[in-house]
């Protein structure tokens, strides 16, 4: 009888054995297992993303010659426009350099932009992240800023062999230094949540009391270069409300982010040039 009762506890004992075995597993080994699991699945969404690209390629192949010619003409115009802008940008950069040397200013941080395709998105209530198709193979550093044409995307959280995980600016716990456009005082931006069928939300803290939110002109929150990670002036979002805190000096408010964050296809990793140098030296 007692033996029969004991045998009924067997499933619990087996579960406990599994859990204990997992619990006592050294952290290094767990980390190794984690990397192994990740690198095992990485090709799945890598290939999936490639397949998606192939799909769009074949979709384009299906277009008529007339459409292709029109697109080619538009592209040629765009190229010409971009070439002029590039030349202007080069001239301006030279002018800035000249002024810096005259005024004996410290040189501004310079960045290298590594463009990467988005392989997968994982946008839950607790985390918002994307996987990009460049990793250690392109010297992507952990912590680097990631941007797109609409502004800030987030920061690289993990770098794997051929992919990197980017924590989005909308992710709960994401934190960066920011400024209200036209201001130079740094404030704190924090990711919050992506409510259903709505723009992702963040919050802004430590906004000086004299910055007022008026109904007409929206307050734009942009990245601050002071934190040393993000270039200056990249759009984070729009401050939709501000309320005074209990200290009476700072306000906190909510920030509406760009809904494009949920459907990004291509982003750029911002790599400070000195970091790239270091990575190369390490590589040597």
């Amino acid at each position: 009888m007692a033996l029969k009762r004991l045998s009924q506890l067997k499933p619990v004992a087996v579960l406990m054995a599994f859990l204990i075995a997992w619990w006592v597993l050294p952290v290094v080994l767990k980390r190794w297992v984690k990397t192994g699991f990740y690198e095992f699945q990485a090709p799945i969404f890598y290939l999936e993303s490639q397949a998606e690209d192939l799909q769009s390629y074949w979709t384009l192949r299906g277009q008529s010659k007339r459409e292709m010619i029109a697109a080619g003409r538009d592209l040629a115009r765009e190229n010409a426009r971009q070439s002029v802008q590039l030349q202007e940008a080069r001239n301006l950069a030279r002018e800035v350099e000249r002024l810096e040397s005259i005024l004996d200013l410290p040189s501004r941080p310079d960045y290298h932009y590594e463009v990467a395709r988005v392989a997968q998105r994982d946008l839950s209530a607790w985390w918002q992240q994307i996987t990009i198709r460049k990793g250690a193979n392109y010297n992507i550093p952990v912590g680097a800023a990631v941007v797109y044409r609409g502004g800030v995307v987030g920061r690289v959280r993990e770098v794997h062999a051929y992919t990197s995980t980017v924590e989005l600016v909308s992710s709960s716990g994401f934190r960066m230094a920011a400024t209200v456009l036209g201001e130079d005082r740094p404030v704190t931006y924090q990711g919050l949540i992506n409510p259903p069928f709505s723009n992702p939300l963040g919050e802004v803290l430590n906004v000086p009391a004299d910055i007022k939110h008026t109904g007409g002109q929206p307050l734009l929150l942009v990245s601050s270069p002071l934190g040393g990670i993000f270039p200056a002036g990249l759009t984070i979002g729009e401050i939709v409300s501000l309320a005074p805190g209990s200290d009476g000096f700072f306000q906190r408010g909510s920030v509406r982010l760009n809904p494009d964050l949920g459907s990004l296809r291509e982003v750029a990793v911002v790599i400070p040039l000195y970091e790239e140098e270091e990575a190369r030296t390490d590589g040597d």
Binding site: G143, M176, A177, G228
Partner: protein, 642 residues
Amino acid sequence: MKVHHFSNWNPRLNLFFYVFGLMILTLVCGLAWRQLLLQGEWKEKEERQNHRRIIQPGPRGNIFDRHGRILVGNRPNFSAVVYLRELRNEFDKEYADLLNTRREEHYAAHPDETFRFDWEELIWESRQRVLQRYLDQINGILGTDEKISIRDLQRHYWSRLLMPFPLMSDLKPQQYAELIEQLPLGSPIDIYTDTARDYPYENVASHTLGYVVANPTALDESTIPGEELKTFHNKTEVGKNGVEYAFDETLQGVSGGEIWVVDRFQFQYDKPLVEIPAKPGKDVITSLDIDLQLAAEEVIGDKTGAAVAIEIKTGEVLVMASKPGYNLNDFSPFIRQEAWDKAMEEGALYNRASQGLYAPGSTFKMITAIAAMRHNDLDPTAVLECGSHYRVGNRLFPEHSRASFGEVDLRKALQKSSNVYFYQVGLATGIDNISAEAMRFGLHEPTGIEVPYEATRMIVPTKEWKKERDGRGWVPGDTANVSIGQGDLFVTPLQMAAYIASLARGETRTRVTIVHDPEGKPVDHGGEPIGLSDEQYAELIGGMEQAVSRQGTARFAMVDGIRIAGKTGTAQVKRPSGKITLAWFVGFAPVEDPQIAVAVVMEGLVPGDHYAGGKTAAPVAQAIFEAYFADRTMDDLLSMGR
């Protein structure tokens, strides 16, 4: 079980589904209870938990100059902090590790001795080590090398456990931004914000504006409910000097506060139950004009001295400078020891403009003249013979600069600052009249300006005063000395500026104030008319105007296109190190419609300093006059003359 049974319904599983459904229902109800009936839950929490009240001071109001430029404001003060409650497990683990290490070290060195240890010391050391690890993270990001002090940690633990422990205070904006971005996510290090006084002009008008000091007991808690609760106060600031002190009540904000629920370890539990925002204090608009103040302080430079400028009609103080000064930002958010030591060593904490007592020298001569004219002892147009000395009893009183001015009337006496002329005038009218006249102009009492700690021990000597102090009688030599502003006469630069403003208006008193009245309401200065005939007054002011001419002693105060009446003074003062020189200038402008009165004193520090009113003090006044008239258009000047 065979595969083909897959489409069946097994009734034995029904009970399982009932239990399953009940579990889900319980979970959903639990969440609904938590979200929808929070009010009820709060009430319940209130019954079973303890509450703590946190008082948050309201930001102080701003201080502006008369044109609305901000002189004192608030800036965010960021600190990197940790909440010690979150580190309890780490403290315990560190304590155990440290104990083991010490035990092993002990037995390795002394295998036969019993291991003894001071557990209290070990507890503090382990806490310090944990905190130092976090501080080192910050040091790594910011490139600093800060250390945790066990004494600070103990003080915090015993008195402010609920409040965050500051690892690094007063972070610069860049440091704040770097920490925000570079501290690892989930780090217990938090960025704590409060405010600190900000002085955009740094060391300009430092004595007049004053500084604040932390005071945990000065918070007004009446607006925050829960008086019966245990209360913690965030640091507040109270004015310690200058305008910050004088208008502390106005500047103080209205406290806000929060009521927190704490667990049995006294640590915060959940979000605050009550949150009342603090409100900023009211602003103060001072009468200072920062352009004039900057101009005066720039010319004074590294020298020691003071300058005061007063708007003649209203008595509003436009400039109140005292040098050396101190950088007010070094006193905020806390007084840095090195800055304090430096200020003490230089005597920079002393406001020479309202606290410095100086012999006025020749700038007093107008009082002697007024006293004599009012008592018909002086005809201003009468000529007196002035040699290089004047004999009073057995003593020879010299002319200044060993000069001999010959035939001198009042105008020339003021232009050349003839001592011999005023010896004769003073002796003719007597000390009683001179002292009474000085007192009529208020030189024997404080001006009553709102800026605190104004000197009260100024001296206008009388026969009675000397008898009381020395037990000896008044002699004519004393009168001769007082006639030229020497002897036992001691006044402040602020008093001298007020006296010149009164003289410019033809009155005896000026009510000085540091507060600007934007409406410019008429002011009752409380004095009386000066009591001179128009001719007498014209001669007096004419003499002063001549002093600020190419031939006058105050030529370095001249400003093109502006008629200035002024008087220089150079007084000798005995100090332990020897005789030092005080250089004075007093004056007002424009003569035709007086607007601004100025008094400047420059203090020689060592006997070798060759200071003279004309060369050392007049340029400071000139800078003030220039700045004052710089932004006035020709129309303004013309309208003044009408």
